[in-house]
Subunit: 293 residues, 4 copies
Amino acid sequence: MPDIPPEESMPSIVALTSCALQQGVAAEISQFVYRRGGKIVDYEQYVNTNEGRFFSRVEWLPADPDSTPEATRADFVRELAEPYHMEWQLHFQDRETRIAIFVTREMAHFHDLLVRTLSGQWNAQVVLMVSNHSDLATEAGRFGIPYHHFPVDKSNREEQEARQVDLLQQNQVDLVVLARYMQIVTPVLIAPFANRIINIHHSMLPAFVGARPYHQAYARGVKLIGATSHYVTEDLDAGPIIAQDVAHVDHRKEPERMVTIGRDLEIQVLARAVGLHVNHRVWIDRARTIVFD
Amino acid sequence: MPDIPPEESMPSIVALTSCALQQGVAAEISQFVYRRGGKIVDYEQYVNTNEGRFFSRVEWLPADPDSTPEATRADFVRELAEPYHMEWQLHFQDRETRIAIFVTREMAHFHDLLVRTLSGQWNAQVVLMVSNHSDLATEAGRFGIPYHHFPVDKSNREEQEARQVDLLQQNQVDLVVLARYMQIVTPVLIAPFANRIINIHHSMLPAFVGARPYHQAYARGVKLIGATSHYVTEDLDAGPIIAQDVAHVDHRKEPERMVTIGRDLEIQVLARAVGLHVNHRVWIDRARTIVFD
Amino acid sequence: MPDIPPEESMPSIVALTSCALQQGVAAEISQFVYRRGGKIVDYEQYVNTNEGRFFSRVEWLPADPDSTPEATRADFVRELAEPYHMEWQLHFQDRETRIAIFVTREMAHFHDLLVRTLSGQWNAQVVLMVSNHSDLATEAGRFGIPYHHFPVDKSNREEQEARQVDLLQQNQVDLVVLARYMQIVTPVLIAPFANRIINIHHSMLPAFVGARPYHQAYARGVKLIGATSHYVTEDLDAGPIIAQDVAHVDHRKEPERMVTIGRDLEIQVLARAVGLHVNHRVWIDRARTIVFD
Amino acid sequence: MPDIPPEESMPSIVALTSCALQQGVAAEISQFVYRRGGKIVDYEQYVNTNEGRFFSRVEWLPADPDSTPEATRADFVRELAEPYHMEWQLHFQDRETRIAIFVTREMAHFHDLLVRTLSGQWNAQVVLMVSNHSDLATEAGRFGIPYHHFPVDKSNREEQEARQVDLLQQNQVDLVVLARYMQIVTPVLIAPFANRIINIHHSMLPAFVGARPYHQAYARGVKLIGATSHYVTEDLDAGPIIAQDVAHVDHRKEPERMVTIGRDLEIQVLARAVGLHVNHRVWIDRARTIVFD
């Protein structure tokens, strides 16, 4: 057993809400918890004063651990969501987030995510892997993770994605992580998992179009390389950004070392993004995220 | 005229509050603004759920620009501060923060702060300079800033500080910035300006005791040098921290270059701290700050 | 007088060289100094092993401070540059870099650069300012810097640049800094100052095309904003990069605050780039820089 | 197979050298390679001009892959090390660095290191684990890593360390990594593995003495938490620093979240330090490191 407790393992409830800014809405959210004897353990809100919009994340320990999610959800709708015309999510933290990881041949990203679930850092479980190659099957087996090989090319992409959707739904997958999955994904996969697919990619300043971006970055003498993790939307690489970071480089870093540095950075940024998601700290507001960190 | 508008120049009002977490306190703060037809332009709060404590910063544009600060203040006390047992501050942004800069012989920190007031970035004015040396008098004169020379040594420290306090009070100084003022300050100066004196110092990992910290850092091969800006309390260098940052160095940086890098970093961190203070974004909660950034 | 010594003020000589990798070239460079009794105070080199290319920066204190630059230069050519087919620069540090700052209406960048020259941090002097507006003339006058107003529009751009080149050459300007100079510059200005014009611009991840990039970045929810300083070439914003950095932002930073944060970042990055240039730490190798930092 | 090649997998040779600054030493090092038909793939040097000291790292591909390390070593001594009075190391990259990881109960650090060896990122292998607890035995078994349980307390520390040294030597261990090994180590272990034991610890600004540093940091309102990785010397936590970094925090991060953030940071910094060591990029110069990165 690790000697550091899991980040957020208590059987708490998280409510994410968004509504027009109204008198007393924050008070009503707290009241909802207090009326049931709950204890708020984390409260954060964001008010967009320009647009008159209220966003909040409230996490609480319920007094009655036996109250069912269904009952709480029904109460929440009746007492808060409907009267205040909220968009909302309720997450019951005793339920693990079920993750599917899509990979190609690179295993470092997958390993990092897996270790974070195994070590109990996240209240999450990797339930299956999907790949268009068979290379990582053995590695998945080492951890007892079912590995599904879907060879994909232009001719069968949508058909294979339909089969992937079936698989994900049968396994009650909550979150798909594209961990260097070197394939385009189409609306067949995206639509049923809207706001539940996270991708990672490198980001250059300036942006380099075309092949071998690290070689281009080297030739231009960039001093930073970056990584961006975002939700996948139909507009490629333009979904809401969850996390970004950069690493400093100089002229001595050959393209091969930039690739290594970039990979480490991608792993860190992807882990940050997935961690924020599984802890229910991200709200999507049109093309942007509100991150209650 | 600069083509970028001042950061926060509108004649807005900022209320900083702290109180026990109570039903409806956030709603009541908003109501206080709305009842007067005001428009909230920035609302941030922090709830310390462990301690049951509520903190907020609200900034609004009053409907009636002619309402006096005195009237607003009286209303605020009656309608909010007293009923909710708040600690509070009210700041009227049409009033500039009046800054005194204490220096020794180094002018880069002073220049940076001065430029930020002159360029209109901050709603603040440098009204005087104090030094234990006369070296920077000419430089102050270039900008028309009154320069006060107070030679200080062990024998006359408290006496001179008493005179400094008189000077500061006569000039209605709101904030004292120790911009590399290489003198110990005593409670004679600190007490009347509690939570209104900001200092900057370098910070090393690990901390090096004794003389020439950059030479020690070099000999130990540190990879980071840091700077910390904090409010001055009687416990030297242990006051609430407002801002911190680090710069990366390597073995090639001789102590002299570390000093230069450290100085630039100090200037940035000090500017961040002073900017947060003059924009009324800092609340002091015992030994720590709540920064509404 | 500041109590921190100037960064690099001694009457040293800096040689920057680049040549094909050859036996003994580094030894010969050192020998050149030692034969004359000089003391090397800084030696850095970079070997691009893929391309078989050698780059170095050597800084030394000459034994005979009265030897003329002309004599040293002639010796350098005969003993090193010609035998080794070097590209090279020789800089005599007792000669200040003469800087012209081009501005529009924003004064923060200009002030920062000016303070660094006035405080003696750099061995450099701002000898004149150029603007297409008259707004900052008073501010320049405060520091006694000649201010030249060249109204520029599409119809007269090249004609005005020709006059600017005359002015710069008459004033023996070594370096032109575009400190938020909101004008396109053409080969008329660029050609005679090749590799001697430094620009600063913001950099976004991803890059946003079109107007109001900070508003676009806000709408997309970016978590980083960046700045890039580079030499100006005819290919707009594609010149060799000298320095880059980023600042972290979150959803709470409205576009106006992003602009402020971006401006501060630009000032830092521009100062880093100009400091590297005036200390002769940058070598341009095709589209990239070798920074001997 | 991963689709990204290992960082530095070719059967190259790395020479690290340090000697008094002398004419032609760099040329002689290159000549040593060229005389044998080798190809230099990376050359870096550092000249400490104050102390007249030369340091270099040269990596080359030998022309004759069948030349034995013993022969190369003998030639190196005769042609370079003796004539130039060098301190030196020669590393043959076809030989993997054999790592022992010492742990207590926390598995995230161990996992991260293991993944980097398994994925081929490093030319290194984890050959055994040592712990004063049995908790992680199962986890080690999952990867087939031998796990050695040495219960340690004050009474038997040196005796157990003597047995650990036997174990490490029998297994030809090159590098010991203390991956949150919560035990003091004594000269019994340190002496035979001088400069070959790497530790990681958190670093605070300011430094906090005593228990629960994250709680102290929270109470003081620090804005940064740091991590330092260093070689272990008899002077606890004062060995040469290899890598350091910081993460930004604010008042909203409760001590528990600071712990999580600090752990992730430690893992990154430890990986950077171990990576530099296994790629033979670190030279220890008294209390500091020269990092050829």
